[in-house]
């Protein structure tokens, strides 16, 4: 860290590396697509990969940088998805595709951020496992409420209900927008790989900048020792709220991207339940808690593995689970970690103090 001499700090070099890595991958994939080298399975996965990578970046902010376990993050994605799809559906005829999608993404982020703020007020008073279980509870509540939410539109305007389609009292030519457990159908397909990549890049830059700012250092000091941080005058709750809300906004962006890639958006447990939240947590932990780059790589690899294992047909999810367990044990077992440090990473770190942790 010798910024005074005008050279780049190690941290900003590292961050630049992450951004360049993403740009190179994007350019390579785009080139391969243009040359027709990408098969349709993988091509269909590009937008979901962006969605999952953005979610990994978002959750890494809460788990890795703020140091609080959240297992309800799919809930924020769900809010972003429904808010943006609702807007797109509402303005499907009256606006052009580009401004509509831009506003839809912003709305998805804003609404998710608002809920993140609201939920943060009670949640961030708790700590540790209790905080985790409350985020799980909120995620499930959000999913549950959306499933009983009905919105329709006719010539008299919008109608809301939680009773059912009949309770809306729509005119015969009225149109259902959110149809309870059937969700939203017919959202325009606006999501492309390029948009996904731009959103991912924006989230990465926001999170990396945040971590290197005064606020970011305050947030990390809360992670490392909450009591010490509080005692030197850092407003703990305010910074926790800041990180949590930003994370929710990014999750909302991911939701908007996700929603505009689906023919019908339904708040099913498989899409927005705690299973999904846990999958995002797997990305963060496997990528190395606190590392934005690692989280993105883990998200990409873990989304591709089931696809690459397709030739195993029925056994692929079984193999996937075994890979997950083995990767965790190899990564975290004290003996195997020492071995990896001695034999693999040590070679790349020679001269920079390799093995000093040993």
């Amino acid at each position: 860290m010798k910024n005074s001499r005008g050279t780049m700090t190690k941290v900003s070099r590292d961050n630049l590396g992450t951004i360049i890595m993403l740009a190179v991958v994007f350019a390579a994939v785009s080139a391969a697509r243009a040359a027709g080298l990408v098969n349709s399975h993988i091509d269909g996965l590009l937008v979901p990969i962006c969605v999952y990578a953005i979610m990994a970046v978002s959750l890494n902010l809460v788990v890795g940088i703020l140091g609080e376990l959240s297992i309800g993050h799919a809930g924020f994605m769900c809010i972003g998805a429904f808010a943006s799809a609702f807007f797109s559906k509402l303005t499907a005829e009256s606006m052009g595709a580009f401004p509509r999608f831009l506003i839809a993404i912003l709305i998805g982020g804003a609404v998710a951020g608002f809920f993140g703020f609201l939920i943060g007020i009670p949640v961030l008073r708790l700590n540790g496992d209790y905080l985790a279980i409350v985020t799980l509870a909120f995620g499930e509540i959000i999913k549950n409420l959306i499933n009983v939410f009905y919105v329709g539109r006719d010539s008299r305007g919008l109608h809301f209900s939680i009773e059912g389609q009949m309770a809306l009292g729509l005119e015969p030519d009225g149109e259902m927008i959110i149809n309870g457990a059937q969700g939203i159908t017919g959202t325009p397909f606006d999501s492309t790989f390029t948009v996904g990549f731009i959103l991912l890049m924006i989230s990465v830059i926001v999170v990396l900048n945040l971590t290197n700012s005064r606020e970011g250092r305050a947030i990390m000091s809360i992670r490392d020792n909450r009591i010490a941080a509080g005692s030197v005058g850092i407003p703990v709750t305010r910074y926790k709220m800041l990180a949590f809300t930003i994370s929710a906004v990014i999750a909302g962006f991911a939701g908007a991207l996700y929603a505009h890639n689906l023919a019908s958006l339904i708040a099913t447990p498989a899409r927005f339940g705690y299973n999904m939240s846990i999958l995002f947590l797997v990305f963060v932990v496997l990528g190395g808690i606190g590392s934005t780059r690692g989280a993105i790589i883990a998200a990409v690899v873990l989304t591709l593995i089931p696809e690459l294992l397709r030739f195993l047909s029925n056994y692929r999810m079984l193999i996937y689970s075994i890979i997950l367990i083995v990767m965790m044990i190899v990564n975290w077992n004290p003996t195997s970690r020492a071995w990896i440090r001695r034999h693999i990473t040590g070679r790349f770190r020679r001269g920079t103090g390799a093995g000093e942790e040993g």
Partner: protein, 295 residues
Amino acid sequence: MVSFFSNLINGLSLGSIYAIIAIGYTMVYGIAKMLNFAHGDIIMIGAYIAFSVITSLGLPTGLGILAAILGCMVLGICIEKIAYRPLRGAGSSLAVLITAIGVSYFLQNTALLIFGSNPKMFTPIIPFKYMTVKIGEFSFQTISAISIVVGIILVILLQTFINRTKWGQGMLACAQDRGAASLMGISVNGTISLTFAIGSAMAGIAGVLLCSAYPTLSPYTGAMPGIKAFVAAVFGGIGSIPGAMVGGLLLGVIEILSKSYISSQLSDAIVFAVLIVVLLVKPTGLMGKKIQEKV
């Protein structure tokens, strides 16, 4: 009034099943200090073992239950030995949590491969002619009564085991301070294996009871009851066995009552909302110990 009482009995019965699962969660958390997310799937495996023995092999019900209990016990010990023990001392509870999720995927997909994704009809452990009990105009299912009785018996047995036997005392010691316990000559590894064995055996019993009360069985049967039981354990104060019992019973009653009186679709949301309110008022659960933060 009559319908309120049968709802209450149904709620208590579901609550006892939650309580039995929650006790497994809470014991493992208290002693191994980890959230065992695969616990719900052990329930499902237990139910499948009982199903195979009773329906496929045609053996007596008692044998099926016994096989489920023993099978889950062995499974629990193996999971702990293979997947969780290498990560003890890694200093990251998150790493163990993710491994537990991996184990949960593994169990679900194994069941999917062996038994297929079509739900199986589970043969209830009680013959049809004894299914309902009628007292005057007041009737309830026998399995409800059995669940409640089994729940109470298990809690009493477990409390006696923990407070009266040497092994139980060893478990308490490990829960308090693992390092000090091993200095006193308690085998920490053995105690944790024992905890997993007891917790998983209870999951096996819960699996049989759950599938007798709600007789469809699929590889995902265990997931939601597992999460609910986890909520129940937190509700009562995680780490506390009486807390898990109370939390489970309350959760079951709230779920059934909100299903029948408010909205069947919103019952899960109501359960989780009550949990949030409880945690905000009492941040360590109903019977959890207040932890003093030391600087």
